[in-house]
Symmetry: C2
Subunit: 362 residues, 2 copies
């Protein structure tokens, strides 16, 4: 507890996944955390889990964290600003511009409000899924606006550092455009692609490999939550999605007449633009495309993969990344192991000596 | 070699990744495999790798496998049919309708031709990347057409079984529509999404999580190869992509006026359709969405993941799938382990007892 930064008492409004996880992490640091929620059961659960105590009349928290669904975030923040006239108030909703606009409409005192967005979460919500280490190593955006100074908002940055996250400063507008690009539009693209899979026969989807599986993995998301997120960030999402739609339209023109002059160039340019875009994504250590990959065959018995990784460790090689691939219905799997390029050749021959079958190396 | 089915001598035309891999697998079974290629170096490499011998004048192969780039496949097949008037000829190009159409145009004797498509491959090509086990457990499509009987094509099915692949019978048309759906359109969608990432600032792409990484992973593909594939399968690809574009257009209408009646419903319906589509993809054992997932924190030291998997094995639990997730710049990673739901609760408590931090469980 010697490394605790936050000196304020904290009131968390909304004992869901994020609120309870914040409570667990801050309680571990010795912060006084109290909970309020429209559901008394949720508060009792959060308290039972050790995330803090129930809020009491007369509490004077220095910092209020609003962690309620996006569509009630602004009204809850406004009420907190009224009820706690000396407290700093923040929220953790995944869109920021619509919350700030609604606060202005409500005439709230936004000089004490700074919205944030932790880039963490789980597919399953609720206090039951909460974890003290949910935010460890994750980016947590502070979405700045003109009405507040960062100096004044220092307690919020203290909270972010105390839960182990990485504070990232952005304007509200920059945040909303950023998450539209790296979260909201990818969700829609994955959903639109997955929606097409309803139209294929069983034989067609039976040929599916790892590529289409990866493209559509996040298409399993909850429609109700995404309606709230997308409606609240509609403009930036529509702008990026329109540009993407225009690219698809250009491509469709080329595909309708692939022999026409320029058609092949149009196709090559879109694939090339995709090469350039995907290369910008940070990997494990900033850029995992720099690593060499080898594909090792493993059979479907317990302990096989563990044995492989143990032997890689025994050989003194640090595995940078690992991806598993399966063939539907086959008793064989493939482990794609990423290592530093200089370690690759020796690792391949050492593994082959130990009897592993290498199905491919870069 | 007792389980060998194929009784014909095989000529492989094109000593690239697929051709050389076929040679390696068949040579292991004792089949006489000869190689021809426009590049004498490629033939010498394939022979050095043990994939077979160089073709000689006077060879009378019973089966010719054409494994050359898509745009020269048909002319190479036609020439093989002429030069080997008693042989059965196949090819392994990833589109089938355009090859068959071109063979008809060339007046080739298609009664001895049956195209196939092994659903296997690697990002890196060439004989150097070839592996005898490249096809193990993978689907390998036989693309049937009216001019040939499956009985006559028995040697091709023998080859597929001998290299360890799973033969799947489809019509040429069904094949091309299937790969448009599960391979070609997903490639374009991933590329179009990745192309948008060029437009974001460094701060924006710095927030990228596993979702956008998965959606865009295959966007690193080779533009030259994809121009050939997409031009040769343009019609089925354009049809599916048009339907997807129409869905995106409908969504854009909703996003431009999210408060209008029906807008929220339109958004929810697309996400819901995506839920239904992605649920159709086969998983490891037919449907890996039935498994429970737990997320275990691992630090970035050699042997940590191996130790986790060893301990899961010691606990007698069979891991069904594994996915690693990293936070850019953080020394912490997460391993998402899929297990049978009935094994989950006990595994979580046993791992926690051994000191593992479970960042979440389903």
């Amino acid at each position: 507890m010697t490394d605790r930064r936050l000196q304020e008492d904290v009131l968390v409004i909304g004992a869901g996944l994020l609120g309870t996880s914040i409570g667990l992490a801050l309680t571990e640091k010795g912060v006084d955390v109290s909970f309020a929620d429209v559901s008394p059961t949720a508060v009792r659960l959060a308290v039972d889990y050790g995330a803090g105590r129930a809020a009491r009349a007369g509490d004077e928290p220095g910092l209020v964290v609003v962690s309620v669904p996006p569509d009630v975030t602004a009204s809850t923040v406004a009420q907190a600003l009224r009820e706690h006239p000396r407290a700093l108030v923040t929220d953790v909703a995944s869109v920021k511009g619509s919350v700030l606009a609604e606060l202005h409409e409500l005439g709230a005192d936004v000089s004490r409000y700074l919205g944030t967005h932790p880039m963490a979460g789980r597919e399953r919500g609720g206090p039951i899924s909460a974890r003290a280490d949910l935010f460890l190593g994750r980016p947590w955006v502070l979405a700045g606006h003109d009405g507040i100074s960062y100096r004044r908002a220092g307690a919020i940055e203290d909270l972010i550092l105390d839960v182990g996250a990485v504070p990232i400063e952005m304007s509200v507008d920059e945040h909303d455009r950023s998450v539209a690009l790296i979260s909201h539009v990818p969700q829609l693209v994955a959903s639109a692609m997955a929606a097409r899979l309803r139209t294929g026969g069983n034989a067609a989807v039976g040929l599916a490999g790892q590529g289409v599986r990866d493209v559509t993995r996040i298409a399993g998301s909850d429609p109700g939550l995404w309606v709230q997120i997308l409606s609240a960030n509609a403009e930036p999402v529509a702008e990026i999605l329109t540009a993407l739609r225009d690219d698809v339209d250009a491509l469709l023109g080329a595909l309708r007449d692939p022999e026409a002059p320029g058609s092949r160039k149009a196709i090559a340019e879109l694939i090339g633009a995709g090469n350039a875009g995907v290369a910008r994504l940070p990997g494990k250590h900033g850029d995992d495309r720099r690593f060499a990959q080898l594909v090792v065959m493993i059979d479907d018995t317990p302990g096989q993969l563990a044995r492989l990784l143990t032997e890689i460790g025994e050989l003194g090689v640090n595995m940078e990344d690992l991806r598993l691939e399966h063939s539907p219905g086959a008793p064989i799997g493939f482990a794609e192991v990423s290592v530093l390029p200089e370690a690759e050749a020796e690792l391949v021959s050492a593994l082959e000596e130990r009897g592993w079958r290498i199905a491919g190396a870069s």
